[in-house]
């Protein structure tokens, strides 16, 4: 398979569109090459390379819609897939919420493709594993980790003259380091579009240090504590909060964003005034594609500004129903941070808990965005500005809305899972029970 250039993708899609006789036709063409390596017990367990390419054709007659897919792009195959989608459309019931394909749009160029990431080799992946396993062995620790990288493209065109194209690369790394006596565990993660920013030895040493520091943790009583949340700890709760920024479920009265008596919370202050959260596809550190899968251009969009809800996402259908412009769902989350480093935040804490990450986060109550889950892989008690000792893991029951209302200090931003999130000091974070898990 190939990662097609813009011109090659356009040529293939145009050939397919010529076979269309439906009222409307929308074609998505994508391809991806990815590789991975997995290790555990200080040895490699699996490794692989996968590639795929796919064309999805959606045809419509009025509001009757059919979708067909194919992975070969000669004329005969293209005609077959277009005709198949048309036959399926004719047989389908009407889709009342179907929207006609968009007309031509203008998209800015994205910054998501880095050739060096696309050029990653199996040898490089093996070196990543070795950069974890070697220092683990030297420290009487067992490493388990996963590194995967991908390079791909997406193109889209329709019978109304729209054409969009994007190329993307990314890499993700996670590693868990466990002390061989089973009493300590540390973890770290890195994700980038550009692999040259990645240092597997540095990331692995952080996990090793946390594993060694977390040995022989002491139990302290569950309750409400001041916490310093590393971005890897807060991201799960914040992502769940982002997903409630949906106008339709709010307007229907079934989300946290629904307002008492009807309507939604647009314009309402819901969290501390220092909380500002936005999407920006052009941000140097967390670039994303500049268009959505439906072809809507992405632009910088404010979601929370000074604690106030500034925008909710509207699908094209819901925007039409409500007489507003569609707003695509956020592609990345960028939360404005402060100057404080993690060390600064610890230094300024009289009593508190440093949390490396939260695990197994699940919804408890969608009404209040209450979630439960546990701390994992490095939880430490802070006293008088210093890490005093490791503590046993806690189960929490907390809402990101309550968490962001209890904000004490914002620290520096870190890239996490394609987002840019600051370290945060939060007061009265609710831990409800102890866990013996290491």
């Amino acid at each position: 398979m190939s990662i097609y250039t813009k011109e090659e993708a356009q040529e293939i899609i145009n050939r397919a569109l010529k076979f269309s006789s439906a009222d409307g036709c929308e074609i998505n063409l994508s391809g991806n090459i990815s590789g991975n390596i997995r290790y555990a017990r200080n040895t490699v367990s699996t490794a692989g390379v996968n590639s795929n390419q796919n064309m999805t054709v959606q045809s419509n007659f009025g509001k009757k819609v059919g979708v067909a897919t194919i992975d070969e792009f000669d004329d005969k195959s293209l005609e077959k897939v277009v005709k198949r989608s048309e036959e399926l459309a004719r047989l389908s019931p009407e889709s009342p919420e179907f929207m006609e394909p968009l007309g031509p749009q203008t998209y800015a160029e994205s910054k998501t493709h880095i050739q060096k990431t696309a050029d990653i080799t199996p040898d490089f992946r093996a070196q990543v594993a070795a950069a974890s396993i070697d220092p683990a062995k030297k420290n009487d620790i067992t490493a388990a980790g996963f590194f995967d990288d991908s390079s791909g493209f997406n193109a889209m065109a329709n019978s109304n003259g729209l054409f969009a194209y994007n190329k993307n690369t990314d890499m993700n790394f996670t590693v868990t380091m466990r002390t061989n006596d089973g009493t300590g565990s540390g973890w770290s993660t890195r994700d980038y579009n550009d692999v040259s920013m990645f240092d597997p030895a540095e990331a692995s040493m952080i996990a090793i240090d946390k594993a060694l520091m977390s040995k022989e943790a002491k139990a302290i009583e569950p309750g409400k504590y001041t916490v310093i949340l590393e971005p890897a700890a807060s991201i799960g709760l914040l992502q769940n909060m982002f997903f409630s920024f949906n106008a339709r479920s709010a307007d229907e009265g079934r989300s946290f964003m629904a307002k008492e008596g009807g309507g939604n919370k647009l314009g309402e202050k819901i969290v501390d005034e220092r909380v500002t959260l936005y999407t920006d596809p052009f941000h140097e550190k967390v670039p994303t594609a500049t268009w959505t899968s439906g072809g809507i251009p992405r632009k910088k969009m404010m979601w929370l500004e000074d604690g106030v809800v500034k925008n909710l996402a509207y699908s094209r259908y819901w925007a039409k129903e409500k007489g507003v412009e569609p707003i695509p769902f956020p592609s990345n989350g960028i939360m404005v941070g402060g100057d404080a480093s993690l060390e600064d935040l610890i230094k300024d804490t009289r009593r508190g808990i440093l949390v490396t990450r939260l695990w197994y986060i699940r919804s408890v109550d969608p009404q209040t965005l209450l979630y439960t889950g546990l701390t994992r892989d490095g939880t430490f008690y802070i006293e008088n500005g210093k890490i005093k000792h490791p503590i046993k893991n806690f189960r929490f029951n907390e809402s990101p809305i309550i968490m962001l209302n209890n904000l004490e200090t914002l620290g520096q931003q870190v890239r996490i899972d394609g987002n840019l999130i600051p370290y945060m000091k939060i007061r009265d974070f609710t831990f409800t029970s102890l866990s013996d898990a290491v």
């Binding site: 040895t43 009265g253 946290f256 008492e260 695990w359 546990l374």
Partner: protein, 546 residues
Amino acid sequence: MKRRDFMYTAALGAGVLASPIPIIGRNIFSEELLNPGMDVATKKAMADVALNTARGMGATYADARIGRYLNQYVFTRENMVQNTVNTESFGIGIRVIANGTWGFASTNDVTPDGIKKATELAISVAKANSKIQTEEIILAPVKGHGEISWKTPIEMNAMEVPVSDKVDLLLEANARALENGADYISSALFLVNEQKYFASTEGSYIDQDVHRIWPTLNITAIDKSSGKFKNRQGLGAPMGMGYEYIIPDKAEEIKGAGDVVLYRHSYDIVADAIAGAKQAKEMLSAKSVEAGKYDLVLEPNHLGLTIHESVGHPLELDRVLGYEANYAGTSFATLDKWESGDFNYGNELVNLVADKTQKHSLGAVGYDDEGVKCKKWDLVRDGILVNYQAIRDQVHMIDQNESHGCCYSQSWNDVQFQRMPNVSLEPGKEKYSIDDMIKDVEKGIYLVGRGSYSIDQQRYNFQFGGTLTYEIKNGEITGMINDAAYQSNTQEFWNSCAKICDKDDYRMFGSFFDGKGQPGQVSAVSHGCSTTRFNGVNVINTGRNI
């Protein structure tokens, strides 16, 4: 904002791919779901290309899995069909041992030339990885089964039922829920047919035809004036059955406590939608639970998930040994506890069994994905931990020489590895009804169906809620309550087991999406039990004012 993007699509309930299942494969017509696919003689010839190529290149073992995976999904909300999807995925996965190391490759080019190339790639992966491989592979012996076949015992192939009948059924359920007070309802039907052919250098050629079905409901009731909303999930379960599962059969209904109706091997989705709408409305005005210790009476469609998380996962041998440390985690049920022979996983009432042969279950197959005949075995007997779940290259690590037969891959495109079999709690030996569970409870809670769930990475501490929750006072159900979740520790919880209903109340919970591995794979698994009581469990109040 990557991890949950596809879940967001599902939550929106709109758009072309309104599916919580990643849609794999090419779209096809529903009629094509009934095409027989490649005939068995050709599959054997194709598999032999892989096995002979591997042998010729020095492999000491090889297996080939030719898979045709068919899916049909129907999605509706209120009075409309959101989408219907039919997909087919076909290809071959080849696994080899060369230079003492596993290698795997797959291709959708199921021709002698394509298979030869994929086998060569699998060999080259094995040889490359052998340079950094430090653990010897020891395979438990398995007998060659020759040419055999197995099929899920279904009465009606759901793929043969016209899509219009399925749409009509779901829209009928939606309409009746709306008439009975629901503000919103989504319903869906997921159908799966795995046609799997397995061949190995051990002399097995196994042709299997596996069917699964899953009807779902999500019913929402709203009180606009207070801004409150409540969701009630359907009380059906995914099953290893055909379309007969959603043809109502009164004989398969079980009367639960309160006004709850439960289902065994037949699910009346329309009746459940009506009941669900009324119950969702009732939740809006139910009182909030008072935190404290309660005796819990847990209904099988609820307890099944607790079994999955607190028994199924911690007894996976690869987790115990650390292979999953970086993702799902490890396990508290360490080898020393098993070796001691006296580790009280639960009290003497607790018998937990693994079973890949259980009729109507999601995990039932004749042979696993490395050609081992499936069986049933004990995990916990009379409360004592007695075994784990292990496959051919693992059982030697627990001094056993027979694989448990629980190796699985989600498709031809992914490598097979150890996956959870059906893990179930045996029913009680004494004759007890659901009422018998409740009548001697002074202060308790009856939890029904699946709600919130979370457990730590070594499977000690967990928290669960239900979709329906009722207060029990002085031996009687006194009404619905909100905001209840119980928190416990696995060993403490199973040692608080007080009473188990007998086999007449036994039924199965299931999940289509048990996730494991990196890259992740899903697997479908069932958990059977009867209604069971656990005494003195900690319940928290999850209500918040914002």
